[in-house]
């Protein structure tokens, strides 16, 4: 694994951006400043960043209802994201989409998605396009353990494997589908076991270790770029907060389980590694965190000061312009 110090610091910064963004988004929802619900990615930062750090801007990702982390990991604009959460015209969807519909085609972000598993067929389609353009592009399909039992995901995996599409299926197994424990919904311990049934390699990795995720994603992306077809990566991770919003305790999870996972915080783990390797010092790591916090507050200010969408814009962005 050859990663420059600059790249490592960029990965740490992106993880911190996700953490700080979603922490504030959670609070702002409670203050009724954010419109609609937010599904927070706090605790899962290593998964999105470890995968997206292997991608180019012209590679694609499909995301989920818990999509803020994926957008930021792929380089999304925090100001447009907060503006979208505030339903302002400067947002990614011009204030008409909210948390679960943000996309940035310039960065290959094909959109968050409020429908469980619905990103997978889109990813297969994007993978088909990548293959036929033959420019070495790949598509990553993020989905959760809940979506792993959706038919659309299985159809997409079958198609991708049959046509050897350059798609990497990344299942972020955070142990809960909404409020139901993983073990109550699945007969297997490792979602990645299903990959074998579709004729693609599947691996399970420590989703709290961004470098472990990166290494697996790097190899899977390399396979896809070489034309060797799809792969399946299961990142074992944990969401710190409830299914929606912060910790409302709707269905309490075992305290011991929560404490165990929080003791393996992905940002803490990576920070300690970077400090041990003299890539960062305590002071420089703190400076990054503070800089990100400043960026978050500036983005919130931008969102608050942005205009509401005009009523006349209501029917815009429904259909695309067709060019001959």
């Amino acid at each position: 694994m050859d990663l420059s110090n600059d790249k490592l610091i960029e990965m740490f910064t992106r993880m911190t951006r996700i953490r700080e963004f979603d922490e504030r988004a959670g609070h702002l929802t409670e203050e009724a400043k954010v419109v609609g619900s937010v599904h927070l990615y706090v605790g899962e930062e290593a998964s999105g960043v470890g995968v997206c750090a292997t991608l180019n801007d012209d590679d694609y990702i499909t995301s989920t209802h818990r999509g803020h982390g994926h957008l930021l990991a792929k380089g999304g604009d925090m100001r447009k994201m907060f503006a979208e959460l505030y339903a302002k015209s400067t947002g990614y969807c011009h204030g008409k989409g909210g948390s679960m519909h943000m996309s940035d085609l310039d960065l290959g972000i094909l959109g968050a998605n409020g429908i469980l598993g619905a990103g997978a067929p889109i990813a297969a389609g994007a993978g088909f396009a990548c293959k036929h353009r033959a420019r070495g592009q790949v598509t990553v399909c993020f989905f959760g353990d809940g979506a792993a039992s959706e038919g659309a995901v299985h159809e997409a995996m079958n198609l991708a494997a049959t046509w050897k599409l350059p798609v990497i299926f990344v299942c972020e197994n955070n142990l809960y589908g909404e409020f139901m424990a993983y073990s109550s919904q699945h007969a297997i311990d490792d979602v990645s076991d299903i990959a074998q049934g579709y004729g693609m390699p599947g691996v399970a990795v420590d989703g709290q270790d961004v470098l472990a995720v990166y290494e697996a994603a790097f190899e899977a992306v390399g396979r896809a770029r070489r034309g060797d077809g799809p792969s399946f990566i299961e990142t074992k991770t944990y969401r710190y907060y409830d299914h929606v919003g912060r910790d409302y305790g709707v269905v309490p999870r075992p305290e011991e389980e929560v404490n165990y996972w929080k003791s393996r915080d992905p940002i803490d783990i990576f920070r300690a590694t970077l400090i041990e390797r003299d890539v960062l010092s305590d002071a420089s790591a703190d400076a990054i965190t503070q800089s990100v916090r400043d960026e978050v507050e500036a983005a919130i200010k931008f969102a608050e000061e942005s205009p509401e969408p005009e009523v006349s814009a209501l029917l815009e962005d429904v259909y695309t312009e067709v060019t001959a």
């Binding site: 297997i188 076991d193 599947g202 399970a204 290494e215 011991e256």
Partner: protein, 335 residues
Amino acid sequence: MPGTVGIIANPASGKDIRRLVAHASVFNNYEKVSIVRRAMVGLAAAGVERVLYMPDTFHICTKAAAELDLPFVLEPVADTLRADALDTVRAATAIEAAGAAAILSLGGDGTNRAIAKGARNVPLVALSTGTNNVFPTMIEGTVAGLAAGAIAAGAADPAVVAPRCKWIELAVDGIGRDVALIDAVVMADGFVASRAIWRIDRVREVVLTRAIPDAVGMASLGGFVGPVSPEDDWGLHLTLGQGGPCVTAPIAPGLFRPVPIAAVRRLEFGARVAVAGPALFALDGEREFTIRDGEEASLYVTRLGPPVVDAHRCLTAAQEVGFLRSDITAAVQSG
């Protein structure tokens, strides 16, 4: 307690990144349940009275027992699961403390290393379910259960059929830090990350307890330049680099790489290999930890590893004392 056997089945073995970077097999947990089920039948046939097991997230042992009418008591040995290697270490310690006569393991080299760290004196029947395993063997679960049962029943003497294995002890700045059963690999500075080894260009040195050409991984590499058997009272030290032979070795399942070897040295028991930091250590195929600039590690081979049951010798010895045999006349009359 006489007649007690432990079972440790690792639910995580056989799933790592080598499915992506090599052509490693997938070993799903239902197959492990099936193997444990057959092993339990073997244990029952041997008259084992009590089986202690490591609980796991997939409930391998309870699923295995669910379809059986077992004559022994089945008990978990731990109450807290971390879903990592420490579960295995703790379970092995608890099984040893409970006086088990043998431990039956399902996993790879890494699983057995964790068991060895937790229980150094209980005879180990090691069944392979990992990736490129050298330590455990591919034996039928029924036979493995029977072998562990024969030890527990007193039908085979562990001092005869379960010799202690070699292992590698690793100390950092003079303080014991870890052990490995098969290989300790010194890599250029890097990260633990996904743990497995396939980038051979990052490997600097290899210390082996056994070097066998009919293996996969580092043991194979050594096996083609200086074979060392499990019975030999020495190990092997390879320094990679130019100046010696180049071996095209299977460093992972289905993955061959040319490996230049600068030096090969027979490593007598206790002879130390010194390693100056920075360096990354991989033990039994898994990257584990780093030492920094200014730190120094030393590695040496001893025969202080756990006793390992040779199933063939064990059951051959058992049959010599009438194990599983009843009086033929009585059997015919009762039948």
